[in-house]
Amino acid sequence: MNAARGPWVKRGGIVLAGAAALAAMANIGFFDAARFGRGLLNTWTFLKGLFPPEPSVLPVILTAMWETLQIAYLGTLLGFALALPAALLATRTVFAPAVTLPLRFLLVVVRTVPSLLWALFFVVAFGLGPVAGTLGIAVYTLGYLGKLFYEAFEGVDPEVLEAVRSVGCNRVQLMRFALLPEAANGILSQLLFIFEYNVRASTILGFVGAGGIGFYMLGYVQLLQYRSLLTAILVTLVVVLLIEHASTRLRRLVLSDAPSAPA
């Protein structure tokens, strides 16, 4: 019976998914031919306007990129400093649900809001500039790393915890001598990954006035200075690729000296 029904369910599913996609396209305006024609023309004008890149803005762009990197770096460090104790307190193998549950809920809330919205919130609170961007990145990092860290702590072999606990140590010592060293490699790898992610995220913080290269990108778009925009995009591309490369190599180095089998 089930075997006969299988292909029909599958076909029905495909037809439904296709119909939903077509309805969404019509609703959004994908079948507006005139609009698409204009769009293609505009794209061509835009692409033509990008070249050649404008070298005279390079000093400004490089200064802004440096600010972006500082936002990402400080934001990551601040977020890490908050995420580590939060994650330790959210670890179910060490603390009771009365402590872990509220913290986990807080981390979920923080993580749900993207860093750009956090930056917007801090622009309202602290005014325009890189401080708002740094705080935005820090809060998002707290939510993201907090979850990854408590999962890493909970992945520590229970027998190790049991053995260290049984020497008569307290919870703080248990965290220092069992949880942290056992999860250290994972923590470092995740920290490098989030820094790489934060560099990319920081490039657009300027769109909401939170500092960095994004502020100039938005300005060049609004003033139709596409050649200057291309210079900013190319600088961002090179820096992000370099950071990604360095981070990947560092992570490989960290993980190459990590335990793989239980002791």
Partner: protein, 255 residues
């Protein structure tokens, strides 16, 4: 008075012990056991016979449903917490089956973990242990033949070396009782004998050992007393020198 009573008491005294993980089935049933100070007591039995459960109950990791456990005159049947934890916790060293070493920490740090109960929290966070504790840890590592690896991380070590680190950590607690759960089961015969030589030498200093094992020959050679468990119950108890293959087959109901 209390300390005099503790000094005269057995190292471990278990009376009518019942322990269950689920509440439905008992992993240890109606068990009585007495171990004198300085004894090396070997617990034998097939997998699932309740050996590890017995050790965990004595250590206070598992709570018993019924019965009484006294370690050096102090009752641990309901777990080790509060005052008991301070008084007794560090005196009972526990070496789990897979040793429970912190793999990503050095040999010296793992050994010094044994001194945590007598180190204040803040100094321990920056690994500022008492000078005499560091000296004691180094001396133990020398005695156990792994002093040259004190700065190596545990996951770089061989099985035998890890075993030595686990013993060093246990002895660093300055215990009166060591509970070791099949801790030589994964070693080659030479290393096993080396480790058990260390155990018997340590027992001569007055430290009591309760070791679970499968190795009949080793039980006879290194133990003082042997206890046989089957399906959670004690089925026999004798001098370790009387243990032989035939007796074990008969007791365990195997051919």
């Amino acid at each position: 008075m209390e300390s005099a009573a503790q000094n005269n008491s057995a190292a471990v005294e278990v009376r009518d012990l019942w322990v269950s993980y689920t509440g439905a089935r008992f992993a240890v049933e109606q068990l009585d056991l007495r171990i004198e100070p300085g004894e090396v007591c070997m617990v034998l039995g097939p997998s699932g016979s309740g050996k590890s459960t017995l050790l965990k109950a004595i250590k206070g990791i598992l709570k018993s449903q019924r019965g009484q456990i006294c370690v050096f005159g102090l009752e641990t049947s309901n777990g080790i917490n509060g005052r008991l934890r301070r008084e007794l916790g560090c005196q009972i060293a526990y070496v789990p089956q897979n040793l429970g070493l912190v793999r990503n920490a050095t040999v010296l740090d793992n050994t010094l973990t044994g001194a945590l109960s007598r180190t204040a929290t803040v100094p321990s966070l920056v690994k500022a242990f008492h000078r005499h504790d560091v000296a004691e840890a180094r001396s133990l590592l020398r005695e156990l033949g792994i002093a040259h690896k004190e700065q190596e991380k545990v996951f770089h070590l061989s099985g035998g070396e890890r075993q030595r680190v686990a013993i060093a950590r246990a002895l660093m607690q300055r215990p009166r009782l060591v509970l070791a759960d099949e801790f030589v089961s994964q070693l080659d015969p030479m290393t096993t004998r080396d480790i058990l030589d260390i155990v018997t030498a340590t027992a001569r200093r007055g430290i009591t050992f309760l070791i679970t094992s499968h190795e009949i020959e080793l039980v006879a050679q290194y133990g003082d007393r042997a206890v046989f468990l089957r399906e959670g119950r004690k089925v026999h108890e004798c001098r370790a020198s009387e243990v032989n293959l035939e007796a074990v087959r008969r007791l365990m109901g195997r051919q």
